[in-house]
C-alpha cells in the first residue's frame, strides 16, 4: 500500500492554496498508509540563502536546538519552528558547517532537507494529525509532494517516513518495494552519497542524486533507474523547479494524474484528485509504465 500525492501549480494565483490542497489530497489516502506521513513543499526563496530543515530529537525543543546552532555558527540566521521541526535559513556557504555541527552536537536530530525553496516535514502518526501538527494547510508554494506510509521495508520512525531528500532541493516519494536496495546503498555510500536510513526508498532518492551529480538530467536519471533498480515502484520526484513521475515497467502500483490550465496533480487514487478545483473538466489519465513524465517551471 502507501499513498502518494503531488501537486505542481502552473497558475501563480493558486500558489497560496498549495498546502491546503496537498493536505486534503493526502487525507483521502490515509487508508493506504496510516502509520506516518510527510510533506515536501517548495515555497519562497531568498537569493543566496538556504533553508535547512531538521527535526529535533524526541522530547527536546526544536527552538532551543536551532538557537544553539545559530549561536555556534555565529551567522545570525533566522529560525522558524513548525511542531517538531526547525527551519534555519542560512547563507549557502554555511550549510555544510551547520550540518557538521548538528552531527556532532545533536546526532539524534534528523536533517530533512536543504534547499533554497524546499522544506520537508514528516512524522509518525495519522496523516491528518501530521498535517495539522505542521500546519501544512497554511503553507503556500509552487509545488509539493506527500506520502502516507504503510511500513514494509523499515521501521515506523520519523526517519523512515517519506519524502526523502538526498541532495539539495531534491525529494522523492515512493510507493512500492525495491529489492536490491542493500547493495545499491553500499555502492552509493562508497560514492559519497549520504543515505541516512535503512529504507529502500531513500536508496532510490540517493540513486537519482548520484546520477544528477554525475551530469544526468532528472529525466535521464529516472530513465537510468529503470535499468538499475530491481523491484516495483511509482516515484514522484521534486526538484527546485521540476516535478516528475515514473512507474516501473509493469506498473504494479496505482497512479492517476490530472492536468488543467492551473495545475498538474498526481495521486495513488482518483478520489484524492476530487478535492482539486475544476477536476470535472481536467484531463485525467493513468501514467504509462516505464515512461518519464516531467513538468518544469520556466
Amino acid at each position: 500500500m502507501c499513498g502518494i500525492a503531488g501537486l505542481f501549480i502552473k497558475d501563480p494565483t493558486l500558489e497560496p492554496d498549495l498546502g491546503r490542497l496537498l493536505a486534503l489530497m493526502t487525507s483521502t489516502l490515509r487508508g493506504r498508509g496510516p502509520d506516518s506521513a510527510g510533506f515536501a513543499i517548495y515555497g519562497d526563496a531568498t537569493p543566496g540563502l538556504v533553508k535547512l530543515t531538521f527535526a529535533a530529537p524526541e522530547g527536546t525543543e526544536p527552538e532551543a536546538l536551532a538557537a544553539r546552532l545559530l549561536s555556534a555558527l555565529g551567522v545570525g540566521g533566522i529560525a522558524a519552528i513548525r511542531h517538531s521541526h526547525a527551519v534555519v535559513t542560512l547563507p549557502a556557504e554555511d550549510v555544510a558547517r551547520a550540518e557538521a555541527w548538528l552531527a556532532e552536537h545533536a546526532p539524534e536530530a534528523s536533517i530533512m532537507s536543504a534547499g533554497n525553496r524546499l522544506e520537508i516535514y514528516k512524522d509518525v502518526g495519522d496523516p491528518d494529525d501530521v498535517a495539522a501538527a505542521f500546519a501544512i494547510a497554511q503553507m503556500g508554494g509552487s509545488h509539493g509532494i506527500s506520502h502516507t506510509r504503510m511500513a514494509t521495508e523499515s521501521a515506523v520512525t520519523t526517519d523512515g517516513a517519506h519524502p526523502f531528500s538526498t541532495g539539495a532541493e531534491q525529494c522523492l516519494v515512493h510507493n512500492g518495494s525495491i529489492s536490491n536496495h542493500a547493495s545499491l546503498r553500499r555502492a552509493l555510500r562508497q560514492d559519497g552519497i549520504r543515505i541516512r536510513t535503512e529504507n529502500d526508498s531513500e536508496v532510490a532518492a540517493g540513486y537519482l542524486t548520484r546520477k544528477m551529480r554525475d551530469g544526468e538530467s532528472l529525466d535521464e536519471a529516472l530513465t537510468s533507474s529503470l535499468k538499475d533498480l530491481d523491484g516495483f515502484f511509482t516515484f514522484v520526484v521534486g526538484t527546485e523547479s521540476g516535478f516528475s513521475v515514473l512507474r516501473d515497467p509493469i506498473a504494479c502500483k496505482p497512479a492517476v494524474m490530472a492536468e488543467t490550465e492551473r495545475y498538474v496533480a498526481f495521486a495513488s487514487e482518483f478520489k484524492s484528485l476530487t478535492v482539486l478545483p475544476d477536476i470535472a473538466s481536467a484531463r485525467v489519465w493513468e501514467p504509462k509504465p516505464a515512461t518519464v513524465y516531467f513538468w518544469e517551471h520556466s
Partner: protein, 229 residues
C-alpha cells in the same frame, strides 16, 4: 426507490442492504449519493436491481456482481466488475486498471478509457471500452469478448487462451501467442451485437475493427518443447 447517502450511511450498511436483496424484491431501483471514491461499493450483489452511483467510485465497484445493473456516474478505480458473474456495469467516466478482471459473465461498458490489464484473466465476461486500454490487457484471457473503440497498449492478449479481442484503433504491440485473425461474418455479427448492447449501433462501423486471438501455440503441449518440462 431507496436513496442511500454515503455521507450519512456507512458503506458496510449499504452493501449489507444490497447483498440481502432477494430475487423478488420490490426495491429494484437504488441510488447511492456521495460515493467519494470509496472502495467495494455495490460488491457482491445478487438480485435483479438497478443501482445508480452518483459520482466516482474506488476499487472493486460491483465486484462479483450477479444480475444487477450498476451505473457509475463518474470514474471507477481499480478492478471495477472484477469477477462479475452476470448483469451489467456501466461506467460513464474512465476505469482504472484491471477492469473486469477474471469476470465470468455479464457486460461491462466503459464510456471513457480503461487502463492497464483491462480484462485480465477474463473468463466469459464481455467488455466494451469506448476509449482506449492500457498495457497487458486481456492477459491470459480464457473466454468472453473485449471490444475497444480506441487504441490498445503494449502486450495485448499476452498468453491468451480463447477470449476474442476486437480493437478499432492502433495496437502498440501484441503479447506472446496473440495474433491478428481474419474477421468473418460470425465475428462481424457478434461484434455488432456488442456495439449495439453498448448503445452505439449506427455510430461505430464494425468494418473498422481488427480481430485478435490466440495462435494456440503456447497453451497446447508441443513435443518440441519437452525438454522444458
Amino acid at each position: 426507490m431507496p436513496v442511500v447517502d454515503l455521507a450519512k450511511t456507512s458503506l458496510r450498511e449499504l452493501n449489507m442492504a444490497l447483498q440481502q436483496l432477494g430475487p423478488t424484491t420490490n426495491e429494484t431501483d437504488w441510488t447511492v449519493l456521495n460515493p467519494a471514491g470509496e472502495h467495494a461499493i455495490a460488491a457482491g450483489v445478487d438480485a435483479p436491481v438497478t443501482i445508480t452511483i452518483a459520482g466516482p467510485v474506488g476499487y472493486y465497484c460491483g465486484g462479483m456482481n450477479k444480475q444487477a445493473t450498476v451505473l457509475v456516474e463518474g470514474s471507477a478505480g481499480q478492478g471495477v466488475g472484477e469477477n462479475m458473474m452476470s448483469g451489467l456495469i456501466h461506467v460513464k467516466g474512465d476505469a482504472s486498471q484491471s477492469a473486469g478482471a477474471t469476470g465470468r459473465g455479464g457486460l461491462l461498458i466503459v464510456e471513457g478509457n480503461a487502463s492497464a490489464r483491462c480484462g485480465i484473466s477474463m473468463k466469459g465476461i464481455d467488455i466494451v471500452v469506448k476509449g482506449g486500454i492500457g498495457h497487458l490487457s486481456a492477459f491470459m484471457g480464457q473466454s468472453g469478448r473485449l471490444v475497444v473503440f480506441g487504441e490498445a497498449g503494449e502486450a495485448l492478449g499476452d498468453s491468451l487462451y480463447e477470449a476474442r479481442l476486437y480493437v478499432r484503433g492502433p495496437v502498440a504491440g501484441l503479447g506472446a501467442d496473440c495474433i491478428e485473425k481474419e474477421m468473418r461474418d460470425e465475428h462481424r455479427q457478434e461484434l455488432f451485437e456488442l456495439i449495439k448492447a453498448s448503445g452505439e449501433a449506427g455510430t461505430v462501423d464494425v468494418s473498422e475493427f481488427r480481430r485478435y486471438g490466440s495462435a494456440r501455440k503456447l497453451y497446447n503441449f508441443n513435443i518440441d518443447n519437452v525438454e522444458a518440462y
